[in-house]
Each structure stands twice: as C-alpha cells, then as structure tokens.
C-alpha cells in the first residue's frame, strides 16, 4: 500500500549531519542511519518459516531469544541478482513492537551525510518508493538512503 505517505517521507533534512551505515544488498549500495541499528551480527543459522511472507528469511537464535529475520532484498523489493549472493550479516533493528533481524550481504562503512551531497529521491525518476529517503554522494558514488521508519511499510 503506497497510497498516503507521511509528509516527511522524502524529507532530505532528516539525513543532514546523521551517521549512516553503508551496506550492500543484492549488489546495490544503500545505507541506514546508525542510531536505528542496535547490533551487527555475523549471519546466524536461519530456520525458514513455512507460509511466512517472502520478505521473511526465517528465524534465528540471538543469545537465547528467537528473532525474526527479514531479507533486506525482499523488504525493499530489489531485483534478485542472477548470481546468488548469500547474506553475510544480520542487523538488529527495531520494528515498532519487536526487535527484528535484517539480512544484508555485507556492511561497508559509516559515513556522515552532509547537506551538499544530498539529492531528492525524485532524481530516481517517477514516484519514489516510500522507504527511499534520498540519494547521497558522500564520496562521489551514489548511495540510497533508506528511511528506517518506513522500511517495513507494506509488509504484513
């Protein structure tokens, strides 16, 4: 459901001066604000859950607690590359009422986003997806900044 997005959906100013964790998923480089991530884990053993939505990779044990792990590639609906990259890291983030894992291929670095390097999400053409906050070029090459608040929008 992409119908009504809150006003701050593509509000660039939220990213200014914020530290972002740059990561790779399905070959694409994107970033999530560091404050949204509570932990970065080596990929644990993930048990698939039959009949769960396709965005859910499965469940894993994190120090005795059962955590639902989402596949970022499916969450933000990226095309899956032909050569299957196996996710190597799981980020623990808050999804409102529970802490969930987010499976990514790898994490690259932390960068601070400056105002000059920001571009509006609309540069991607058409109506940008709600989870895309903006495009940034902290070091020249473009990175998709993900909106952590709307990441799970449209996922049951």
């Amino acid at each position: 459901m992409l119908a009504q997005s809150p006003d701050d959906t593509h509000d660039l100013s939220r990213a200014i001066g914020v530290d972002y964790l740059v990561l790779r998923a399905a070959g694409e480089v994107c970033a999530l604000p560091v404050h949204a991530i509570s932990e970065i884990l080596r990929r644990p053993k993930i048990t698939p859950v039959p009949r769960a939505g396709k965005a859910i990779a499965g469940i894993a044990s994190v120090r005795g607690a059962v955590v639902t792990v989402f596949d970022l590639v499916e969450v933000i609906d990226l095309p899956r590359p032909a050569t299957k990259v196996t996710g190597g890291r799981v980020l623990l983030i808050d999804r409102g009422n529970e802490k969930v894992g987010l499976l990514v291929d790898s994490v690259i670095e932390v960068v601070r986003i400056e105002k000059d390097s920001l571009e509006h999400a609309s540069v991607l053409g058409g109506e940008p997806a709600p989870h895309v906050l903006a495009v940034a070029r902290p070091k020249g090459s473009p990175i998709i900044l993900l909106n952590e608040r709307l990441l799970f929008e449209g996922i049951s």
């Binding site: 048990t47 769960a52 939505g53 469940i59 005795g64 999804r95 009422n97 049951s156």
Partner: protein
Amino acid sequence: MAERFDTTERAREEFFSEAQELVDSVGRSLLSLDEAERGGRTDPEIINDIFRAVHTLKGLAGLFGASLLAALTHELEELLNELRLGRSRMSPEILDVLFRAADVSAKILASERGESLPPSDDVRLLLSSLGALSKHDAEETTFGLADYDLDPGLLGVLTEYEEHRLRTNVKDGTALFRIRADFPLATIDTALDQLKTNLRPLGEIITYLPTGDGRAADEIQLEILVASGARKEVIVETLKNDGVTVEEVPKRRSAQHGASRFPPEAATRAALYRSLLPGAEGGTKISLSEPPPGDGHPRTAYPPSMHPMEDQSLRSVSQTVRVDIRKLDRLMNVVGELTIVQTSVAAMMEKMRARSDLRDLSSELDRLHRSFQRNLALLQDGILEVRMVPLSQAFEKLARIVRQVSREQDKEVNLVVTGAETELDKLIVEELSDPLMHMVRNSIDHGIEEREERIRAGKPRAGTVALNAFQKGNQVIIEIEDDGRGIDPVALLATAMERELLTEAEAATLSTRDIFGLIFLPGFTTRKSATELSGRGVGMDIVKTNVARLGGVIEVSSEVMIGTKFTVTLPVTLAILSALIVEVGGGVMVLPLASVEEVSVFEARDIEALHGRETVTLRGRTLPVCRLAKHYRLDQTITNERIFVIVIGLGERRLGLVVDRVIGQQDVVIKALGASLRNVRGFAGATELGDQRIALVVDPASILEEVLEGVGEKLNMGGQDARAVS
C-alpha cells in the same frame, strides 16, 4: 534480553502486585458479602475486612502518588467506616457502588501501569455516587452499655469498631458473657484459634484481653467478651474441654441511661498492656503503638516481653514471595541452555567411551552426568511448579461478571464452581481470563432464559452456570455449562447459509458437531444476528483464537431446552514441552508430545483417498491424515516407501500427521515467535535444539482446525492467499 529494574521501579512493581492483590481480595469479600446479603444478613466481619483492605490500599496509593486511587479509596474508606460502625445500613445500591469501586480501582491500577488511560470519568461518576450514598441513613445507637456490669478498664480499650459491635449486640438484646481461659504461652495461638472456632457458632467475640491473673508463670489468662443468644449452660457444655470459666455479665439495676461514650480517662490498650508487664517498665523498652483502625482482634494479646526482641513484629507472617513472571522466564531460559550443555556432555561421553585408554575417566564422567541430568530435571520441575497457580484466580473474577451481568439483565443466576484448585501455568490463567469472561457472559446473556420463560418451561427460576475444571493427564479441561435454552442446529445452519458462510451442499455434509462449530466462524460475530437466532456467538471466534494461541482447543455441545456446554482443553504449561523431534520436508520440526497419541508406520500405498480426503486405516478405523510437508507447502522431494504417521488428538478429534522421519524425543524450552510472524498459522513457537539451530514447534490445535474443518479451511486459505499477495 535482560531487563534490569532500578530500585524505584522494583518498588513500583511491588506496589502494583500488592495493590492488585488488595483489589482482588476486596472483590472476593464483596462477593461473600453479596451472598450473605441475599441470604438476608449483614456480615460485620466481612465489612471490616473490606475496610481494612481499602485502608491499606489508601496508604499504598498515597505512598506511590497514585492520586486518583488515593482520592477514591479515601471516600470508600469513609463509607466503609460508616457501614462498619453501623452508622449506615448496607443496601444493594451500596453494594453496587462498592463493586463498581473495585472495578474502577483495577482500571486505575492498569492506567498507572501505563496500559490504558486514567479512568478519570469513571472515578468522577463513582465519587458522585459515593457522595450521594454517605451521610444519610445515620442511626446512632444510644443504648446504654452502662446497664451492664462491665469493667470500665475493659470498655476503655475497645476500639470504635468493637464498641459498635458491643452496642449492636446489646441493642438486639443479646446476652453478654465473660469467659476466662488460661493458655500456656507456648501454644496460645493454636489454643485461642481453637476456642474461637468453638465459640463462633454460638455468638460473636467482641474482644479479648489478658487479665494479668495467670495461674502459672508460663500461662496467660485471657478474658473474652462474647455476645451470644445461647444459654449459659450451652456455652459451658460447648467449651467444657477448653478449661474455661463462663460467666454471664449481669445487668445493673441502678443503670444510668443515655451514656453513649466511654469515660475518656480510661486507659489506652497500650497503657493497659504496659501495666500488665512487671518487667516492661524497666529494662526492655517496647513501644506499642495504637492498633491501626479496624484492627479489632489482635491475634496475640500476650505480653510482648515474653518474646525475644528480634522475634518481634518486623518478621512478616507470610512465607510467600511475589515474583515477576519474566524472571521465571529468564530462569527457564537458563535451564534450556543447561539442557544444551548436558546434551553436549553426553555426546562427549560417547566419544570417550570408544577409547579404551579413557575407560576410568569415562565411567566417572558418566556418573557425574547422571547426577547433572537428575538435578537439572528437578530444577526444571521446580521452576514449573512456581509458575503454577490455581484457576481460582480466574474464576473469582468470573463470579463478579456473573453478578454484574445477571443484575444488568435482571436474571437470577447461580454460579457453581468445581475444581477451582486445579493448577495451570500463571501465563495461561492470565490469558484465559478474557475468553472465559466472554463465554460466561454469553451463557447468561443468551443461554439463560428470562424468568417467565424458565417458569413456563418448567425450569427453576434461577438459572445455573457451572464452571468445572479438572486435570486429565498433561491437560486441563475447563467446562462452562449452562441450563439455558440451548442452540438450535437447524436455525444455526439457516443463518450460516444466509450469511453465505457455506452452501446448501456443504451444509448437508456437516455433522451435528460441525454445525455447532459454526459459531466459532468470524462471520458469526455480529451481536444482532446471534441474539435473533439462538443467542450465541458474540466474539466466539476471538475466544477460539485466544484459546488456540495457548495451545488449546474449544468444543461446544448443546441440546435445545436443556443447555449448552463449552469444553476448553489446555496444556498445563507453556514453558516447557516434552516433544517429538521429526523431519518434515528436509527440515527439523518439533511436535508437543502431550497431543501425540501414538506413532505408526505405514506403507505409502496404505493412504487412501476417501471423499477427497486422505486417510489410513488404523485398527479397523478410518483416520484422516495430513501430509505435514504439503500442509506447510515445503518441497516434497523425499518419497519414502514407509511413512510415519503421528496420531494427534485434542479433545475428541484425531488426525494423523505424515512426516518423513521420527528423530527422537526431548524436553525443549519453547519460545514465542515474534510479532512479525503472528499471522503465520500452524506454529506454537520455536525452540533451540543445540548447535544454535532453531526448530519450529508445530501447533497441533491449529492444524487440526485447518484440516478437519472444511469450512474453516476454506476461510483460512483465503486469508493465506491474501497474505501471500501482500
């Protein structure tokens, strides 16, 4: 995820649990009071109990700055004080207000916990009803106690409550008796209790005090003032084994009338105690404060000097501790981790056993391992036992619902409870409260007929709702039964078709049991249709969902004109599970052993399709089966010649689950799935099997439901597809 409480938070936690207990106890007392009132008598003891509970609650509320609660309890305390001192008379209206007050107090507590908004409007309304109640109906007893030859010293130490009880009895013309009894100090508590028990049927104990005339040094004499309608000989006869003297308090001839207050110069209770203590004046300094208001009957009236100092009042009478259930969950997690350690040790032992040079060490390790295993099992049982609470915790709340609903609807309803002592996991009892409340409400709302209708039908005026609980193996059964009008299956079917929940052709194939099962369909929830039809169905689908979430099943049976019975079958605990480990579609899954009846091996060709459903023949009977891999839409690459059929049974229903392989049996700690997986049906949770691998725990109840209920399956599939799209 360790939650740490700082001290203030912990104190608040304790405030909540203590306050909750007080509110619950007030609720219980109100029920007994209500029962007594309906029997036409007012029980002053109970009113006094409630008063004391409210008084304590007020203190707590003040301490924790719960201002709404403090304001409410303050007004309540006033009213209760008036009642207890006989200045106001108990009435159904007052009882209603008191019941409401208990409910509102519970709401305030919930809001203080941050679970809901403060019920300010409720409190305001209640305070205004309280205001309207008090201050009228005052009847000050002015009967002269001076008519009786009572010791002014004794009169002077009566609490206001005791004085009121004394006056009431005197006014009623009940005779007063003075009983003197000697008690050995060592056994005074039990002996006094015994005497009180013996006296209770005869009359009311107003007060008791030490006389200071003990026969021996290690004995104490108490004077007990009793109001009794019995003759002196009867009392003497009743107490003949207690070694007491009984004396009727004579009436004075030259009585001065109208004296309503006692001489102010009379000693306080503390002063009197002190005068009784030869040693207390000097060395040991014991400060005895005034008893709290309403504490009319001190349990121990013997001189404090008889106790060593450190044994005094700081020690609490209660031997119990209150524990946050989350702490038990954490302990349970540790037990789970230990079980994994134990499995690894066992594996290591096997390796060592193979080496001849390590034989001695290996047998020693074996011994240690056995002891480890045994103690671990004890630890696990111990934690589980702590989690168990009697169902009465849930049933007591239901008694209040019964009262409330029957008054709202002007129906007479008797609630009959059996097996309230049956124990279940605390979590299950908590989660069960709402479903049970729904069912009981429904029973009165729709099951029990109007008074006239019952009389016409030749039934007793008062309807009966019975709650029965009992344990059966690893399961607890709870029945909710009423003697109301029952459910008419024909009308039920008609409505289901009208609402297009099933076609005529489908309807024709349903058994009576299936038909009654229709009331659990989501389409049946609208209140209007339920009332028009047969009077069932308010939120029954929600009830069913909640029961299923606890790993239970609910069934209904009914006979028109005779009544309706709901049967809820639940596991005893959720925390730990004896489980069967199986392989399904290449992965490992876990099945709760409690619902497994047997495991059988069949040839693949033994499966027959009957009426579009796969079945096997087990001991000459047809058993429907479900291929678990197919059910969970997993790849079915494995095609065995031999198949394993696990027969699961819940309540009256059976189903065979086809799995690839049975791996073994193990106790597992079950953990809840996250909120993101709430919509995925078929699993009760997950568990760690060692090696940090997580296995899903199959939920037999939901599979039974999906597979066996054709209609249900259809609806659920619809839901599944909708999810797959999103």
